[in-house]
Symmetry: C2
Subunit: 236 residues, 2 copies
DNA sequence: TTTATAAACGTAAATTTAACGTTTATAAAT
DNA sequence: ATTTATAAACGTTAAATTTACGTTTATAAA
């Protein structure tokens, strides 16, 4: 099959298409942003750390493939999942020509099925302790973090990384981890409360202080209403 | 070939991979942001308007493919070209399974080779007068405009759409076209000059007023220096 | 009763944004 | 020669936001 719309000689030769998933989780105890990685069992790169990926199936969209492996490794569905970038350099895979469509996702660490992670020889790595990764996966992690930072600046995506009930100090530490820089806690508190998207609860979390920190919930319905109205928030 | 890293049965079946290009140009006379489209000569969708695309070749990256057809249709290289999104829904092409990696590019309309556009039965369409397009290409144009708006808010990409010497009224009208809303001209002028990225020339453009408007040039070297220093601009 | 500490609350200066009005240069009309 | 029309260029001020801090509170443990 030749594409006659193009004057230079062009062929339509199928290429292997994979997805890779940068799965972010926030460890509330350690106050660390982490990424799920797994140790490859098969060649190429058996024994090396890698993002979680799969080939896109003939009757499957890329996002469906990404979602499929996310569920397989975490037991979760209905998760924040967004396309990152398509990586297509010719030399990226030493064996075959494979392009990879990378996705990033935000999950609640407490909700995922840890036995699935173990079963797949996978593990969570703090964002500043990522080991060497196969091919361009390190690049993907870096790009995903940049994209997450950009996204978090304008959209309340942080809540996808926290349990449904969380405290302001937890939210604050999460944003510091995402932006990878210190934030003024008083200004952060004011700004995040000013959005009107948080519902304060009566209960407190006393695990990290004597005084205890009030629980909050993210008001997703209110946010969705704002979003349809073209509401413009800047979080940082 | 079966991917044993994944427990469910997964095959590695190659897929046709295309690129499609949303090529933006700014018509200084008409003060309109335009997109380059062409009328398909071959099936599927012969006779329908389409973005300019091609299959990714076996030894070619996606960005190289995008750049190749951009050059073929405009005669330009060394152009602003950025990945937009990879579209991969199963039903998007009625004949084969084809995924498409979309790119968007910004060119100087005055510099391109118009005879190439004619030769390919292509033409420039104002952003608000785009005809019906094949498959998901209308979606791509919309997504590209959103991305351009986002990009233009934080990076001085508008200059890629103007001749090297331009006037402030031209720049102002370009940004109004990109954002698709009226902007206060006095605030715009102040903000854009405050970046320090514009060099005022002695000469004037008298085509659109008696008084004439001073020519300016974009100081790219200064911008690149700023960018490496993590300089943060907001244009709108 | 005191102490230590995370959590919560508060304030004021500096900066930025938004919304306007005014002056200037010049060709064309009178 | 003078007036007129008009795009281009310049200027001002109030409101809103951001930044950079200091202070108070609740509570368990000493």
């Amino acid at each position: 099959m030749i594409d006659e719309n193009i004057s230079t000689y062009v062929v339509a030769e199928p290429i292997l298409v994979a997805v890779d998933n940068v799965i972010f989780g926030f460890d509330v105890e350690e106050e660390k942003l982490k990424v799920l990685l797994f140790k490859r069992k098969i060649e190429p790169f058996a024994g090396h750390w890698s993002l979680i990926g799969s080939f896109v199936q003939p009757h499957e969209s890329a996002v469906a493939a990404s979602s499929r492996i996310l569920t397989e490794f975490t037991g979760l569905d209905d998760v924040f999942l967004e396309q990152l970038h398509c990586y297509s350099s010719v030399e990226r895979d030493p064996e075959d020509r494979v392009i990879s469509i990378a996705y990033y996702s935000l999950i609640q660490l407490g909700n995922h099925r840890k036995e699935l992670v173990e079963k797949h020889h996978a593990g969570w790595f703090a964002i500043d302790e990522i080991p060497g990764l196969v091919v361009d996966h390190k690049q993907m992690v870096g790009d995903a973090l940049s994209k997450l930072q950009e996204k978090a600046r304008r959209r309340p995506v942080g809540f996808n990384l926290l349990p449904s009930k969380f405290t302001l100090p937890q939210l604050f530490k999460l944003y510091q981890e995402i932006y990878r820089q210190p934030i003024d806690d008083r200004n952060f508190r004011k700004k995040i409360l000013a959005t009107g998207l948080l519902t304060k609860l009566e209960t407190k979390d006393k695990t990290s202080s004597k005084k205890g920190a009030f629980h909050y919930q993210f008001n997703k319905a209110k946010y969705l209403k704002f979003e349809t109205e073209g509401y413009d928030i800047v979080f940082h």
